[in-house]
Amino acid sequence: MLKAFYNSSSKRELLSLIEKTRLISFANNTIAITYSGALPARIVDFLYRYVPANGSTPPHLTYRLLPADIPNRVRLYQGEVFIYEDSPELVAELLLGESCYHLAAQSQSGLLFHAAGLAKAGAGLLLPGQTGAGKSTLTTWLLTQRFDYLTDELIFIPWGTHMMQPLTRPLNLKRSARTVLYPLFDFATQSANILSSPRVDLIPPTLFNPAVPLRQASLSLIIFPHYQPDSDFTLRPLSRAQAGLELMRCLINARNLAGQGFSEVTRLVKAIPAYKLSYTNFEQIGDQITALLSL
């Protein structure tokens, strides 16, 4: 009788209804996501597969992700408060944004940059920039050039170190980036492996580089990217003061830090070379970033 029950599909269904908890740890912060059902489980795994779950701090916020009454829709709660119900793609996009925001808002004991991060042969590359600078698009191309992935959005550098610690998430690419990415990625054949909303495509980095994303890398080079159609290609070194100015503009958690993190930012720019990159297409970049990392 028991054996028959354990093997039954109803048992699997029952187990899928039991809520599980996934801790999401980043920058000495932790949030929790409780979920049940196959669809929410797939979303959580898709979004946070590479994010550590062993945070040293207890979660300061809990999201709940549950199946909706309507098939193929999910409901998102913050604590017990209902936030949103929609398709998996739209809820995933919202949950990713919310979780990034709340992990960043509480961050202390280090510098948290709005920046992508990659590495090549162990040398870390920081790509700081505001939304729309082209961080994710450039990151995607660099993955095809066998750079290791850290993140396309948030990098934490603990006090007194040069260690880049990422919030590793799927690449979050605006739909407008498809025109640039078509030569690199077949969106049609990969549609089952990505989440696409009307605004963005969420794409696992391993579809561009099969290597498992890195948990950290030592910062060796800073490049401020700027994608600008129909412009001249430039890659110019920044003075330390210019780099400090640009880096302060990308520091997300300044208000949580002593002295707004100014002395830590200047410590970094004194030690790490920085460049400003303006590009129209990837061919212009070629091996120049790799060459700078090798210096």
Binding site: S239, R240, A241, G244, L245, R255, Q260, F262, S263
Partner: protein
Amino acid sequence: MPSPQKPWRKPDYRLELLDNELLLFHPSRTVILYCNPTASLIWQLCDGQHTTQEIVALLSAAYPEASQAIPTDVESVLQQLQQAGAIELD
């Protein structure tokens, strides 16, 4: 015509001299200013002792090749620093 006023630096800015350039940062107002080498020199001369005319004269003596542009540069930099609340004019 440069002003006879004596500009002086507000004390609540933190500064970081990086090579010949300067970053000025006001922690509570979260204002950050970048000063190129010329602006950095001008900032350092804003000590409440020198008038704007004296700052122009000092820079013109040090950089005679740029003496024509210096009065305008000094006025422009002082105006920007004042607008950012980094200096006051006595």
